[in-house]
């Protein structure tokens, strides 16, 4: 059944693709103009969808061609989808403003390859993501997922250099393995339930071998596309090698598409199927991702690789909500505080990570390199960029009232309510680790410039402002969440002694970790504690290098599918 305002959903998907077609047909400078128009229109549609949803108070649905499921296809936007639609619209708008300076068609040229492609791909990513969020059946989700990959891969190799082409091919080939596993699972579910519609599958699917196998395969395949540890072989080179405006899209948005589908499957399609052991496994991978991603981020020489590894860690953070959202009484995953927290974390990460990659691009522009050790004096010479990085970093740490702060509070609350104290620890240590790499970069930026270093060039104000505004969005997110689904007693006074102490402890913990693990010029010097920490870090790096080899990553993918299946089976028999 189509609800009032239902037509907005197909529009949200179609408008970006119409923009792609227009840009392709008009070419050259007009591609950018078409993209700008589309961004304005798409932003408006996302806003209207949000308002319609809030005023109606129920999901918006649209039945394509008047054919209702099981034969027809329904588009559906619930609270989760509306939140993600809005987040993507904001981030795309921010990136669009930033990218105007980097991807303008050069004066005198009629058409340049990279700018033209960039604008088309940006819109294609947007349209595919919107389709992921609103699609109501398993196969449309598959098509959307593939579209997203096809739009994301060329973004990696926009500059056409050998290394980025290799990164793009790694990404594409590994993502294809993931999507074929997803498709296999979807076909199995169709065979079992005789429908692809998510709501109908949810009604008809009973716990049993087919359900376990299908869900395990789909989950493993989607994790490969999300690059959850240990399936991350493609992420660091792909995200660090792309141009900054493209890295921002890939890191902030593209990985959220497959993450969203995992959430859909576990919370809406088969909430009673996976059970707690599988969720613990999922969150365990997340915890490992936080540890590996953060520590290896601290060992990086270049800022963009540091941010790429930080994405790896933050993806891990997103999966911590699964065991916390499990309701022991009903034996199912429920929409509640933990899911709200996880969604807020995903949204906060999207805005903050986009801002971080943008500032990395600005620093590169100013200095001609992005070696962290040589960024001394940046705080004085490019203050707006460093401020944007700092704000984005603080937004990720979750120390001041921001999206990530509320997310952490909600998850901690859920961990206490469900008596899973170990996730409490993971969340706290994860906060320290996030703080550590932000502190490391800022400490370098505030140092005195090395004598004899070339003075940095000025960077466009507008670009820095776009990054700063996106970073600040995380704080606006907290306000929106308080007005909306989150009770406001979570948002304490940030200057109350207890909150202040927590903030200080997080910064102190982060500083200690940054001191211990951080890369410095004189790495050999230091006491026994520092040496022990460095030895630990290099062990993690070696393990990471092994895990990112092709055969190992391929076996990990299948092994994870197997483990998920076994965990679901074990849950059913216990």
């Amino acid at each position: 059944m189509t609800t009032p305002g239902g037509l907005l959903l197909p529009l949200a998907v179609l408008i970006p693709f119409v923009g792609v077609m227009l840009g392709l047909a008009l070419g050259g400078r007009n591609a950018q103009r078409a993209a700008m128009l589309t961004i304005v229109a798409g932003f408006g549609i996302a806003a209207v969808i949000g308002l319609t949803f809030v005023s109606a108070g129920q999901p918006i649905t649209y039945v394509l061609g008047g054919w209702s499921p099981p034969l027809g296809i329904e588009l559906r936007a619930d609270a989760l989808a509306v939140a993600m639609l809005a987040m993507v619209a904001v981030v795309i708008a921010g990136i669009g403003i930033y990218a105007r300076a980097d991807f303008a068609t050069p004066e005198g040229a009629r058409e340049a390859r990279a700018p033209m492609l960039y604008w088309l791909l940006l819109l294609a990513v947007w349209g595919s993501l919107n389709l992921v969020f609103v699609s109501g059946d398993l196969f449309t989700l598959y098509v959307a997922l593939e579209l997203l990959t096809f739009a994301g891969v060329p973004l990696v190799c926009l500059d056409g250099k050998g290394e980025t082409l290799r990164a793009a091919l790694r990404y594409l080939v590994y993502a294809l393995a993931g999507s074929v596993l997803y498709l296999l699972g979807a076909v199995l579910l169709y065979g079992e339930c005789g429908t692809l519609d998510l709501a109908l599958v949810a009604q008809r699917l009973r716990p049993g071998p087919v359900g376990w196998v299908a869900l395990a395969l789909m989950t493993a395949g989607l994790l490969a596309k999300t690059a959850l540890f240990p399936l991350h072989l493609w992420l660091p080179p792909a995200h660090a090698g792309a141009p900054p405006a493209a890295s921002a899209v890939l890191s902030a948005l593209v990985v959220k598409g497959s993450f969203f589908i995992v959430v859909r499957l576990w919370f809406d399609v088969a909430p009673a199927l996976p059970g707690l052991p599988a969720a613990q496994l999922l969150a365990g991978l997340g915890a490992a991702a936080i540890l590996f991603g953060s520590v290896i981020a601290l060992r990086q020489e270049r800022l963009k690789l540091l941010i790429a590894y930080s994405t790896l860690a933050q993806i891990g953070y997103l999966f911590l909500m699964f065991p916390l959202a499990f309701d022991g009484n009903s034996g199912a995953f429920i929409h509640g505080d933990a899911l709200t927290g996880g969604t807020l974390q995903a949204m906060a990460h999207a805005t903050a990570k986009a801002a971080m990659f943008m500032t990395a691009g600005l620093l590169y522009k100013a200095y001609g390199h992005d070696r962290i050790a040589d960024l001394g004096g940046a705080a004085r010479s490019v203050p707006l960029s460093v401020l944007a990085f700092a704000v984005a970093g603080v937004a990720l740490m979750g120390v001041l009232p921001s999206g990530a702060y509320l997310a952490k509070k909600l998850l901690l609350q859920a961990a206490q309510a469900s008596a899973q104290w170990w996730w409490d620890w993971v969340l706290q240590v994860g906060g320290f680790l996030t703080t550590s790499y932000v502190v490391l970069v800022l400490a370098q930026a505030f140092r005195k410039p090395a004598s004899g270093a070339a003075p940095p060039k000025a960077v466009p104000r507008l670009q820095a402002a776009a990054a700063l505004v996106l970073a600040l969005c995380s704080f606006a997110l907290a306000l929106a969440a308080i007005v909306g689904p989150v009770s406001d007693n979570l948002l304490g006074n940030p200057f109350a002694p207890k909150e202040l102490a927590a903030t200080l402890v997080t910064f102190a913990g982060g500083a200690v970790l940054a001191w211990g693990f951080g890369r410095r010029h004189a790495d050999a010097a230091g006491g026994s504690l520092r040496r022990a920490m460095l030895a630990f870090a290099s062990t993690l790096q070696r393990v990471d290098a092994v895990l990112r080899r092709w055969p190992v990553a391929g076996i990990s993918l299948l092994a994870l599918a197997l483990l998920f299946g076994v965990a679901m089976r074990a849950n059913a028999s216990s």
């Binding site: 096809f150 891969v153 250099k161 050998g162 290394e163 082409l165 290799r166 990164a167 169709y190 690789l305």
Partner: protein, 112 residues
């Protein structure tokens, strides 16, 4: 052995062979081919599912066939994209290995 079981087993074998090839072959072109072999297995399974749905008396369930055709188009596009990137990679670097694990900008760092 009924046709449904036979085709089901063949589908399983194709998926298995494809996944094995995907893991052990270092060459990207072979990985892309392996992906296509797995894909064929999945599409065959789709056909089996359609036939099983025919138990209610129809000649065959048309929905999986529609999925199959769409799936083939998607797999074809994926293969085309992957082969294009592979060719470009060969033109740029004269090698097709995916194994080199150098972060992408060591090359830039050397250049500057």
């Amino acid at each position: 052995m009924s046709g449904v079981i036979l085709f089901g087993l063949v589908a399983c074998a194709l998926v298995g062979v494809g996944l094995y090839g995907f893991i052990v072959n270092p060459q990207p072109l072979r990985k892309i081919l392996a992906f296509n072999v797995v894909g064929s297995g999945v599409f065959l399974l789709c056909g089996v599912v359609a036939r099983r749905g025919a138990a209610i008396g129809l000649g065959g369930d048309p929905v999986p066939q529609a999925l199959l055709i769409t799936g083939i188009v998607v797999a074809f596009s994926a293969t085309a994209l992957a082969v294009t990137v592979l060719l470009r990679l060969y033109e740029e670097t004269e090698s097709t290995t995916l194994a080199a694990d150098t972060p992408p900008s060591t090359a830039d760092a050397k250049r500057t």
